[in-house]
Symmetry: C2
Subunit: 225 residues, 2 copies
DNA sequence: TTAAAAACATGACATATATCATATTTCATT
DNA sequence: AATGAAATATGATATATGTCATGTTTTTAA
């Protein structure tokens, strides 16, 4: 198994703030885990025994609403950590993490992280900074949900996925989501999502190849009202 | 001016994690500020030179949507800190803070807090814990916005204000908001808010005395669909 | 105290979105 | 390649919510 201190992935998250010594210690007790597309890494209500560092793949963080529908709160990709919040707040996780493709994860036991939190201020400060940023992003999501139309929210979601996760060589979005996933991100019915995508096609803002989506007029999407 | 080390208010926020020595130092450089109802403590885009500790009063944190409407993200009361996030992330504030009644604030300069963040792990960990909790709350708001009706969101907002901030001796909610404020919390038109409040009155869930609202059937409100 | 302004309230109507029904296409499995 | 299941697509219709108009009440300031 790879060594944390030499792992490039950590540069994308707070683990980069750890010392070489701390990374060696983590490396010795970490475990690896493969999760197949559609499987859960953890589920709402679980008590986590550590955090995960995503080495490969993408997952969605979802929360079940009281009306029985799943809301996707966030997409998390290679390089990011999941489970830190629950570990910090010492509560069970409030979200489920479901793999959107085959994933490779490193699991770091809680005790290690707690230890580093108490001894390495840089690590704690980096986590704090990331959470502050996460809160800012959450504010934006709240405003969008509260104030914008389904049409606008879908356009912005397409732009977000395009800008954050990029496209494949054929120009289609590299994160492949079902229409239902899109609906669960923007908080609408699957049929509405499909209808708006059809509109976007007619307006030559996007094209679709099967379930794959290709943005052909990014500026147009930005202008959607 | 009062001394931080003897101030009871700090027990309600992360400042409680500071040592006596640190509190004395803060006490010597803090300043006091009075903000009248309706005035801004800070506005979206401002660069803050420190954080505020609320000694008295209530304010709303709002964000302007691209469609020109204000969204109220959070209500913040006596005992809480505001401005920490922006200080941690070293960015301009993403929200405006507007006083809902006359307020009394203590201002603590940035340099002091930064210093404490680097030297007192307990303080940093406490802030981290509060932010983790804030993120969890934000997730709940996102799900509610995305999945619930205006009727449900208004019912839940009334319950939230009742449970979190309590009532006056006559039973009316102690946080007094305009109908427009309610609309800006739940993300709807002011007229819709007024209409739903009228429905709630007809259903004997609440009564109103002028703009004041009194919950008379909390269980009924919880059952609203 | 009175006038003006702001907030509250309600009706009429327009529109966005949800829901239900039903094809059609794509995908996985044998 | 054939079959069934899942995902995508679209129409018809119901419903929730927004918008505009207008009137009433409450608050503010002269």
């Amino acid at each position: 198994m790879g060594k944390c201190e030499q792992c490039i992935i950590k540069e994308f998250n707070s683990l980069k703030a750890l010392t070489n010594e701390e990374l060696v210690r983590i490396s010795n007790c970490k475990t690896s885990r493969i999760v197949k597309k559609g499987e859960a890494i953890f589920e709402e209500g679980d008590t986590l025994k550590g955090i995960y560092c995503i080495r490969e793949g993408i997952c969605k963080l979802t929360k079940l609403s009281s009306n029985g529908k799943d809301q996707i709160i966030k997409l998390v990709v290679k390089g990011e950590l999941i489970g830190q919040r629950s570990l910090v707040s010492e509560e069970s996780v409030n979200l489920s993490a479901i793999a959107l493709n085959d994933m490779e994860l490193c699991f770091i036991p809680k005790s290690e992280i707690i230890n580093d939190l108490q001894k390495n201020t840089n690590f704690t400060l980096d986590l704090l900074k990331e959470m502050a940023h996460g809160l800012k992003e959450a504010d934006d999501v709240i405003v969008n949900m509260a104030q914008k139309s389904v049409r606008q929210r879908l356009a912005e979601t397409l732009i977000y996925i395009n800008d954050s996760f990029g496209t494949k060589s054929d120009g289609t979005l590299s994160v492949l989501l079902s229409r239902e996933d899109f609906a669960n991100i923007i908080g609408t019915a699957t049929e509405s999502t499909i209808r708006v995508l059809s509109q976007f096609k007619k307006e030559d803002l996007i094209t679709t190849i099967g379930k794959q989506i290709k943005i052909i007029d990014l500026e147009g999407l930005r202008r959607v009202e």
